[in-house]
Symmetry: C3
Subunit: 272 residues, 3 copies
């Protein structure tokens, strides 16, 4: 077992011990799964997106997860206000730029958030993070595009992490996590994860759950992404042959069972 | 079998026979589960929260369930308008003050609803109902805080019921239902219910389903809360060892099977 | 095997080969199921309802599904704008008039959409389509009312299809699809489908998935409706005796497995 695996295996214990409150400003498509994923991993979710209370809720939370899935003018304002409050209060902000590159509104919102809010961890697929890198990106929906092979995700992750002074997690067939210098690749997960909506959103919510419990956001990013990958592995073994509905439920089952031992045995983490 | 159990067992039959239409102004986190819980218990859900139609929908419904989970300025106005329409029309209003105590917006909205709308049944956890009682309450997210043991939930339930002239249902490890004089305690349910988001919201929707079918709102409150508790018991037996995803599905399965016989055999209701 | 079955069996292969992007402006009750149904049948969902991006998202999509489930002033404007963009761009619009007849807002929105947007496929239950036909309709919630037997759904489907120059799909115990001349009846499905919220919404999303992949919208409507019916048949066989939660999951499982062979063996399509 390498050091990063030991660190992540210790981190999951911290999440379950501390039960951090995680404020999610997220989309209405996958919000139920995000809340259940946060509960399954041992944290406590709170969803609140009205500007009259967004900052108040952030202030009592341990992490803020901003997900751009079904953004609108009302919730964009709340994202900014909560993001600033989190920065003031030393609460980590996790940003999931869902569909960045797909519309001017998403592009403008991505830029506004990166300009006005200090992001601790940025999690997206290769298409979304490539957009942020200023590289050419074609977004087809919000699925993990299989462009990892075509672009150099390691290079993109490093660049974006350096530029925005944050941890970057690019998820795909192989997940890549970077702080601008270090790289960890995660080889858990199964292609069937792309056949269930919200596995990306849930991953960001899991990353938030870890970041709400431990101070090392690099380990938090690896922990959240690895948890979803391991859950995908286990769910595929249990329900992959049945169909995507049962696979979906098995993901939540697996997340609720992830512990130090499972993390140590299952995580496929490679430092580069 | 005591009288309250006989009454509740008869009530479930009424719900399934009458298929009452239940108007829910609720949150986007747990709304799908609420709709499926209402269908599972034998009622018919309708969700509508725009002020241009909220009162029209209330007027054709048998009960109105107001859930404050992801409130915003737009839906708060609809809650008030629909609540007043329900009062005018003799339709019972069930109020679930999700997260009361956690932000000024939630506190103000709770007060506005209690001031402007006659509530038939108030259902919340001990933290939320304690806030309403004017007692000190610390809300950590929207989970059932385990403060039942620290506060006297029986006393709080009675006080709030008297003050607001309504039935109060405080759910937790032991559920407490009061009309200000009578007390029924319900000892069904399992701690795993707190690991699935929306079990509280679903309970309120179930209470609404009963209140849409029978005129005795005390029995309606006991019936809705007991249904969820029994579903939790059965779901834990079936799926507790698998994980929280399967447990979640098993709750809906169990609700769809609850009938007079199951209520008689399973309900653990104690009059004090 | 009749011709229509052969056509539909070929169409499902097209959907899975082309993975069309389907833009859904829909409701927050059933949106997660809609996204998962679209993924299960082999298409790719995108949900976006803010007027600042709605037309941009429509422009990159292969079909637009407008679902009126939890409409509000903000999303109604987006529905109109996206509908017009789809018309300009030759992208088919599927309209699901959820709850038409139940409130002035829904009636006005239905009329506005039919006046301002060319609809390719209109899918609703007998109550909703009867409202559009100008016939008397009583809407009780948004469930498939069992009024198919009382009204002549074939006559209504033909009339509405002619009047609005579109394909009409009326779903119920027996589904009726018409282009104004032809009629196909579909005898798949099970009454338990009405005990899970969103099976109608999912059907519209499936119709959109087919319409995004093939140009013959009559076949697309039959394909989408038949897919849900077959999934209902299979789900009932697998999980009908367990409860509505497991049945719900089994629907998604079955959709994810539907292929040419299953369509050929299971579809009960009758041309009149």
């Amino acid at each position: 077992m390498n050091q990063i695996t030991a660190d992540v295996a210790a981190a999951i214990k911290e999440v379950r011990a501390k039960v951090p409150l995680i404020h999610n400003i997220t989309n209405y498509v996958t919000v139920n799964d995000c809340a259940n994923a946060v509960l399954a991993i041992g944290a406590s979710p709170i969803m609140a997106d009205d500007i009259s209370e967004a900052a108040d809720i952030t202030a009592i939370s341990c992490a803020l997860v901003i997900n751009m899935g079904t953004l609108n003018q009302r919730t964009i304002a709340s994202m900014i206000v909560s993001g600033k409050k989190a920065n003031e209060s030393g609460i980590p902000v996790i940003f999931d730029p869902v569909g960045a590159g797909a519309s001017k509104l998403r592009n403008d919102t991505t830029k506004a958030l990166l300009d006005q809010v200090e992001i601790a961890i940025l999690r997206g697929n290769a298409s979304e993070i490539s957009f942020i890198a200023g590289l050419e990106a074609s977004t087809k929906g919000v699925d993990a595009a299989d462009i990892d092979s075509k672009n150099d995700t390691v290079k993109i992750a490093k660049e974006v992490a350096k530029k925005h002074k944050c941890i970057v997690a690019i998820t795909g067939a192989v997940d890549v996590i970077s702080d601008g210098e270090k790289i960890v690749k995660i080889k858990n997960g199964h292609p069937m994860l792309s056949k269930v909506t919200g596995t990306g959103c849930m991953t960001s919510a899991l990353v938030g759950s870890f970041a709400g419990a431990i101070k090392d956001y690099f380990i938090a990013a690896v922990g959240g992404v690895a948890s979803m990958g391991i859950a995908g592995d286990i769910a595929y073994e249990k329900a992959g042959s049945i169909g995507t509905g049962s696979f979906h439920i098995a993901i939540i089952d697996a997340l609720s069972n992830v512990n130090t031992q499972i993390m140590e045995e299952r995580a496929k983490l490679y430092e580069e």
